[in-house]
Structure formats: C-alpha cells, structure tokens
Amino acid sequence: MTADDLGRTGPDAVTVDLYRAVRLIRRFEERAIEFVRPGEIVGGIHPYLGQEAIAAAVCAALTSADVITSTHRGHGHVLARGADPGRLLAELMGRETGLNKGRGGSMHAADFSLGILGANAIVGAAASIATGAAWAYRQQGRDTVAVAFFGDGAMNEGMLLEALNLAALWRVPVVFVCENNGYATTMPVESAVAGSITARARAFGMPAFTIDGQDPETVFKASTAAVARARSGKGPMFLECLTYRFDAHHTFEHRARLDYRSPDEVAAGRSRDPVAIQGARLSDDERAAVDSQIETALDAAAEFALGSAHPDPADPLKYLYAVMP
C-alpha cells in the first residue's frame, strides 16, 4: 500500500471546507500575532502559520464524536475542530469567556464539548493521553477514533514511543499525526532523529506513511483512510506530514534574534503555501466569499475577546480540584 492508494479526493464541498479551514487558521494566527505586540496576549504564542493543511484536513476526516489531542502549537487543531474563534482568542487573552475561562492560555486550549482533549505543552505527552482515551471509548462500546497531533521533536521522547507500542499492541483506534516542520524549536530534524520517523512507527507494527503536509487534499485522503482503518478495528496508523513553519517557533523569537534558518530556506518553504494551494482550487468569487466571511467572523471574535472580562483575582485556584473535602 502507498499513500496514493489510501483513498479518494472528497467532493467539491470538501474542497471549499478545506479552504475555509486553512484560511481561518491563517488569518486567526496573523491577527493573534498582532495582539501579542501591544500586550493583549501575554506570554506570546507558537504560530501555526504554514502548517494549516494538516489540522484542517485531518479534522475534516473526523466525525463529531471523535477526539483529538494537540500541542503547544495548537490553535490550528482547535479551530479546525470547530472551536469558536472568539472564545479561543479570549482564552489567549486570558479572559473569563475563553475556552478554558482564561486558566489555560494558548498552550492548553481545550473544548471537551468538541472532543478537544486539550493542547499540551509537554512534547509528546498528549499521544499517550489520546491512546488511553481511544482505548476507553472502545471499552465503552463507542466507535470513537482519537487523533494525536505532535511534532518531529516528539519522536525523540520515550513516552511517545511507549505510546506507539501500547497502541499497536492493543489495536487502539488512534491515528498518530506527526507534523514534521523540520525543527524542534531550533534543532533541525536531521540533527535530532536517527533513522527515519516512519520506520520507527513501522517497527511497532503499524502502517506509516510520509505525505505532503502542504496540500490539504493529500492530507485529507491519507487521514480519511487512517481514520477509517482505526475505526474498523485494525489499529493505529501513523502519518508523517512534511510541512514548514513559516514563522518563528514562538513570538518571542524575533526579540531573541535566533539565527538558525537561512532567508533562502524560509523563502523556499513559504513558496509551498497550503492556503494558496487550496485557494487555487476555488474560483475567484468562491474564494472572495469565504475570505470575506472569515474577516467578518474574526472582527466579531476580536470584539468579543477584547470586550470580555478578566477573571476575578480572588479566584486564582478555582477549578484546581473537581471536588475537595
């Protein structure tokens, strides 16, 4: 089996939906960065710019009953899963109306009502959480599939490799999605990963494919097949999506003036833009209509977030315990 055999391209509706998703993520991130500089978003963010195709297409392959776990670079996953942009932005601004009531911030955004079991700031940690959740849903007789998103850096975390073993061993309905953007913070993947990423996954007995992570329809085909396979009880599949982070690891990076990527490399990476790739599949009118809807929605999101109350400082430890004697 090769990646090309994994499935068929979806109907035209999917083409538009994928464009809407990548464009929403792109514009949300660009607007969020604008809120970092004046201090509306404290602590900065890890921009997902350039990687939008993966979140958009993988989440398009899921049903509303499925679940995901995300990473420190998680806004794209959360939006693609259907979270309200206003509440996500409010969370980044630490407002009471945020997805997590301002208690989680950028790296912990979660919406359990949408099956988002949380962005996680510890590299590789969420993959084992996704595996446990998927196993539990199966025990309960549900056909839920879990998707674990993580980066290339996570491939060197022992806990992630342990999770691959458990998932394959117990045929857990989980799909592992490695977003290989070439860098673990500033460490190039070539300097960090011995052997190959997919060979590591295959060693645990699961199918693993390297695909173009910049083309939303390619990712959609592959993830649809992976999700279907997991749902049918055949166990986990692993997708390595080759992508490129257009911007910094973190919005603080510019201040630190870290020098690890050449301008030529960045330009080459930016030339394969998932928003442009998917946008070219729409007519100018279709594209303009979607773009306009998104700007309107993001204007409303910004207004909602900026107008939302800050949490009461008297409540810093509210929600620490579900119950306390």
Partner: protein, 324 residues
C-alpha cells in the same frame, strides 16, 4: 471475629469497586499474576480488559490512564515500587493534577495511583526504598497513607470514587498489619479526615502510615511511666485534617511528629510550621524523621539507622515533656 490483613483489605476494596462501578479498571505491571498479591483473584473474576497487564512503560501507561479518565473511566494503577513515582511525577503532577484547572473545570481526572510497599522494604536498597508522599502533598495532589486494614479499605474505596487524582501509599511496614474486622462493617473513609488512634492528655504524637503502630507501642510503653500519649493519625496527608489536629493539641499543648520522610521540607516540617502559626504550645514541638537528604543504604544496620524509630520517638516525647 475474622482477621483482615492490610493487603487483603486493599484487594477487597479493588474487588468491591470493580464490582460496583463498570468504569473502574486496573492497570499495572504484573497485576495479571498479582506479583505483589494486591490483585490476587481479580483477573479470573473480572477478566483481562479490567485487569490490564501493562508493558514496562510507566510514563505512557500513566498518561494512558489520564486519557481513559478523560473519557469517563476510573483507572487504578498499581506501582509495585515507590521510586517509579519519580519516573511518572510529570504524568501525575504536571498532567493529571493540572487538567481540571488548566481547562477551566471542563474535565475531571479520577485516577488512583496505588503504591504497594512504600518505604523501606528491608534490603531493597537505594532505588527501591523511598516513601515519597511528601512530594505529592507539596504539589497538592490528594495523598493518602493508611495505617490500618480498615482504613486501607475505606480510603482506597474513597480514592477510587474521588473525581480527582489520588495517590495512595501502602507502606511496606503496614502490609502485614492485621485487625479483627466484621466484614459487613467495612465502609468508605472520607479523604481529609484524621483520627485519634489513641486518646491521651500529655502530648500529641502525629504519626503517618506504619509509624502509627510504633507510636501506639511507645504510648503503651510510656503509659507505664505515667505519661499519657495521644496518637493522631492524619490518614490523608493532603488535604490535612487541621481541625482534627487542632482539637488534639488544644488538649495536650505538646506536639511530636514522627514521619518517614527526609527532614528538610518533609511532612513533619509542614506540621511543625502549622503548629507555629496556629497553636499555643507549652513546649517547642519536635520531629522524628529520616535524616536530611537520606538515601537508604543497603546494609540492614544502615537501613535501620535511617528509619525514624521508637527510641527516637521516646526521646522526643521526653524532650517536649521536660521542656517547660
């Protein structure tokens, strides 16, 4: 009246919990064959899907339990070696414990972590003999250390039913304790409520886990010398039953803590700090602990020399009684 051992009481708590709640399941290393005896008989009764033998993958299966809890299950993990908690400190403290707050109360993580045989296990040396309940209390994870079979039953049942992560330490030195119990009287024991294990007038001794037995023996011994020792067993070291201790100290006005933690920043240090803030004492309080920064040496005489013991407790009690 039937005798119930501490280990059998825990086994019974697991069986009753599996029986009454389909969302409860057990996972851990060698639990299929019940290597520690904790899970004896449970595989044949409940099957391999609810008594789940795991590969040696502590970090992944601890987070796996968190994921299962987020999906509505109540996992119970057995760790047979206390030091494994150092390996999964991230997964318990930085993941399971923080989920409720970080998500703004969207979820709960009802995982129970049971350590069968914490503390000195006699000859297991440096990496198998820690008793790290203070670490979990420090970060605010609910932490229970039962001293008796009835409490081991009741606290384990409550821990499993609790909607938050709970670490339960079953001290190696307590596993052999047996008590006369009418099985029909076994009941959940609420978290966060201590008990007076022996009433007394002259001095309050706070003792944790297996050291409650030592404190009771010392109290017996000193009773012959006319000293009346009250033994207070907090049962849950976090949250701590401050009111229960306050009531005891209001009566005795003297305080000694015996605690199988290292001295600096240990559990005893916390109790003494509370005493300094809140209580009016007739004499400065004392503590009997492991030494600062202790690592348990292998040779038995050295292992024993690091343990807080009865002679040190007698000396501490005498010191607070003499101090006017």
């Amino acid at each position: 009246m039937p005798k119930l051992s501490y280990l059998k009481a825990m086994n019974r708590a697991l069986a009753d919990s599996l029986d009454s709640d389909p969302s409860v399941f057990l996972l851990g290393e060698d639990i299929r064959v019940a290597a520690s005896n904790l899970t004896a008989g449970l595989l044949s009764r409940f099957g391999p899907e609810r008594v789940l033998d795991t590969p040696l993958s502590e970090q992944a299966f601890t987070n796996f339990a968190t994921g299962a809890a987020l999906a509505g299950m109540r996992p119970v993990i057995e760790f047979q070696i206390p030091s494994l908690l150092f390996l999964v400190f991230e997964q318990i403290v930085n993941q399971a414990h923080k989920f409720s707050l970080m998500t703004g109360g969207q979820c709960k993580v009802p995982v129970t972590y049971v350590v069968t045989g914490s503390g000195s296990r006699t000859g297991w040396a440096g990496q198998h003999s820690d008793h790290p309940y203070t670490l979990f209390a420090h970060v605010g994870v609910k932490t229970v250390v039962p001293a008796t079979p009835m409490d081991a039953y009741g606290l384990l049942v409550s821990a499993i039913r609790d909607d938050d992560p709970v670490v339960m330490f079953a001290p190696s030195g307590a596993l052999g304790v047996r008590e006369d119990v009418e099985f029909t009287t076994l009941a959940p024991v609420p978290l966060g409520v201590g008990r007076v294990a022996r009433p007394g007038r002259d001095v309050t001794v706070v003792a944790v886990g297996q050291l409650v037995q030592d404190a009771l023996a010392v109290a017996d011994e000193l009773a012959g010398a006319g000293v009346s020792v009250e033994v207070f067993d907090p049962r849950t070291v976090y949250p701590f039953d401050l009111d229960g201790l306050a009531a005891s100290v209001a009566k005795t006005r003297r305080l000694v803590v015996i605690d199988d933690s290292n001295r600096t920043s240990g559990f005893a240090a916390e109790v003494l700090a509370v005493a300094a803030e809140r209580f009016t004492l007739a004499a400065p309080p004392r503590r009997v602990t492991r030494p600062d920064g202790a690592v348990l040496p292998f040779a038995l005489a050295l292992d024993r020399a690091v343990q807080p013991g009865r002679e040190q407790l007698v000396a501490a009690i005498n010191a607070v009684l003499e101090d006017k």
